[in-house]
């Protein structure tokens, strides 16, 4: 059993061992939070729907390919009934998952990138840069999302041309993503900045400076990894919020009618007077989906915050 192990191999083995160990310990701690686990299960379910909606309900139904009668209540043919055009609600809702999740994801990426970058730079550089960036942040913090959306949407659509595509995504969706992104990064930036302020006073940052690291290196290699727990937990929460904002914007008519997100379905239901006609099956499915997904994100987010933040960790 005394085979000569090359030091490189030993180092690799050790790395693998430690990584597995930390993943196991993370999972153990996460599994101790049933709410977080339920959230993850719900999110996995909706993610699968979002990845392959066609596999479950066939291609997206349009006016032409509608399969049922207008506003047909739930039946064996249409489990969740139909809309005013005879489209299957289940079909629409499942396809809506993809749009809603996709917009949420893009908006979250923008929010986190902007928020983390501005937060870290502002906190680390300090001085006038900090003052300036924080005043800008304050401005975006108080900016009302809907007013901004109502102004930005027509401007951007006018410049780019409605119906055109950017990277294969319809411009209307891009507008929603941008609006959500620029209205929600501010709070992330504040959170990350506060963490940066505390991390940059720690001795290892001073040590890194002595070694000769520049500001960029310190922010990227030392500050960012130390704010990662906040970034991860914040990402999850922002994701849920982004989906909610997307729904609201679509509901008030800023969405893309050709890409039925959940908000878009609710908007159509409202135009069709679904509630007045007693067509609850038109309103309930997208609403339940929104509530489930947002709730799941919140549950996972708070569980992650607990698990990743050593200060909140309860010793068992």
């Amino acid at each position: 059993m005394t085979t000569e192990v090359l030091p490189e191999a030993a180092i690799r083995n050790e790395r693998l061992r430690l990584r597995l160990k930390s993943i196991r310990s993370f999972w153990r701690r996460f599994a101790a939070r049933p709410d977080g686990v339920i959230g993850v299960v719900v999110l996995i379910f909706f993610s699968i729907l979002a990845i392959a909606p066609g596999f479950f309900v066939g291609p997206l139904q349009t006016v032409i390919t509608a399969t049922g009668l207008p506003l047909d209540p739930p039946s064996t043919a249409h489990w969740l009934g139909t809309d005013e055009l005879g489209r299957d609600i289940l079909n629409l809702t499942v396809h809506g998952t993809r749009i809603s999740m996709f917009i949420g994801l893009l908006a979250t990426v923008i929010t986190i990138l902007l928020g983390a970058m501005i937060g870290i730079v502002s906190g680390y550089v300090g001085g006038r840069t900090d003052t300036f960036l924080m005043r800008v942040t304050d401005f975006f913090l108080v900016l009302p999302t809907f007013v901004l959306a109502l102004i930005l949407a027509p401007i951007i659509l006018d410049i780019v041309g409605a119906g055109s595509e950017v990277f294969g995504i319809r411009v209307t969706l891009i507008v929603i993503v941008i609006v959500i992104g620029i209205t929600s990064w501010a709070s992330t930036a504040r959170i990350i900045r506060s963490q940066t302020l505390s991390v940059k006073e720690r001795a290892f940052v001073g040590r890194a400076r002595v070694i000769g690291s520049g500001g960029g290196h310190i922010m990227w290699r030392h500050i960012l990894p130390n704010t990662m727990n906040l970034i991860v937990a914040n990402t999850v929460l922002v994701f849920g919020g982004a989906i909610l904002t997307e729904t609201t914007l679509s509901f008030i008519g800023l969405g893309d009618p050709f890409a039925p997100s959940w908000g878009e379905i609710l908007n159509a239901a409202e135009s069709a007077g679904a509630m007045g006609l007693g067509a609850w099956w038109y309103v309930v499915p997208p609403s339940v989906c929104i509530v489930l997904v947002v709730l799941a994100f919140t549950l996972v987010g708070s569980a992650l915050d607990d698990v990743l933040n050593p200060r909140l960790r309860v010793r068992r």
Binding site: L18, A208, G212
Partner: protein
Amino acid sequence: MTDPMTDPVLDAQAIIRGRRAWPLPKQADPNAPLLVVEHLTTRFKMAGGSIKAVDDVSFTLNDGEALGIAGESGCGKTTTALSLVRLLPANGRIGKDSSVKLFGIDLAKKSEDALRRYRWREISIIFQGAMNALNPVRRINEQIAEPIELRLKADKADALKRAGELLELVGIPARRGQAYPHELSGGMRQRAMIAMALACDPAVVIGDEPTTALDVMVQAQILELLERLRRELGLSLILITHDLSVIAETCDRVMVMYAGKVAEEGAVSVIFTTPRHPYTQKLIGAFPNIHADRRTLDVIPGSPPDLREPPPGCRFHPRCPFAMAVCSVEVPPEVTFADGVRVACHLYPPGSDGLPITEPTKDALVQPADSAGPGLGAGVFGDEEFALELRGETVEPESAEHTFSPSHGLTDDRSLDDFK
């Protein structure tokens, strides 16, 4: 002393510089001593004026030598060391007359940018509190590799390989480098800090209380490691500590500081057995003697002065048992004795060469010790001892017969070994 070939200091210098991983900096004078600090003054600008944290401090560090800086908290030990590479808080300034000559290159005159080349590459630091000085979310070997990548422009794979070698050198298996700081013990973290300080093969390593907050066993291991590294790598070390036993064990020379000034400086074997400055005597008297009958330790009454308004004259005079009228008026000049010890105290006026003046104002506290000072083998003592240590030979400390004993018994008859 005149023939360079037989001078032990120059010998050590040639050997150690010959072993350097890369040539000396371009502007370096190959014959200059390793580090010569002269008139170093560091001020901190505060709301209510400025504080002279380090006031006119001079010292020399030769190749392969270990210099201990001792003193109470807040007496300027760390500031002195950090001033060498100007690692000061934003409000810290180094005086115009200060010079810090490394290989004859004056670092105090260098611009911030030019100085960066010397930081860590020529002068590195073992920080106190390894847990805080290590980034908790990055692996140990990556952190050790960082200065190698940044300062030596090595690529990542080479730097990590070297980090592994450094870890082995300080007694940590290379594979443990994959661990995060919290997965290592306190002693291992301190070893990792030492490995990091050695990363660029620096000319001078500053140990800023490297053994503080470690338990005694681990402390002994770390000191042993430093000893071994000095022997094997010819490390030149500045060790900052308030723990006299650490200095007794590791250092060749000791510089005792008080309130930003040098009180006494000289060979460890001399200062620990025949302390001349009253502060040094008190400091050594405050060290527990396991061989003595006394149950209580000497204490130094009072506390270090407020540096915003240091006492006039000698800064130690308010707490000094031998204070005379002149002490509160004039700053004592530094007097160098034949045995190489430098003392700044009015008990030893210039020219007295080791004989304390006999008439202190307070109730005859000083007994003129007839054998003090000049009796020690003239001049070469410090140098020779240092050179012997370099070759790994131990030097028997001078016996206590030269002890300058004030009448109320500040120091018992102790040898250097009692402090270890």
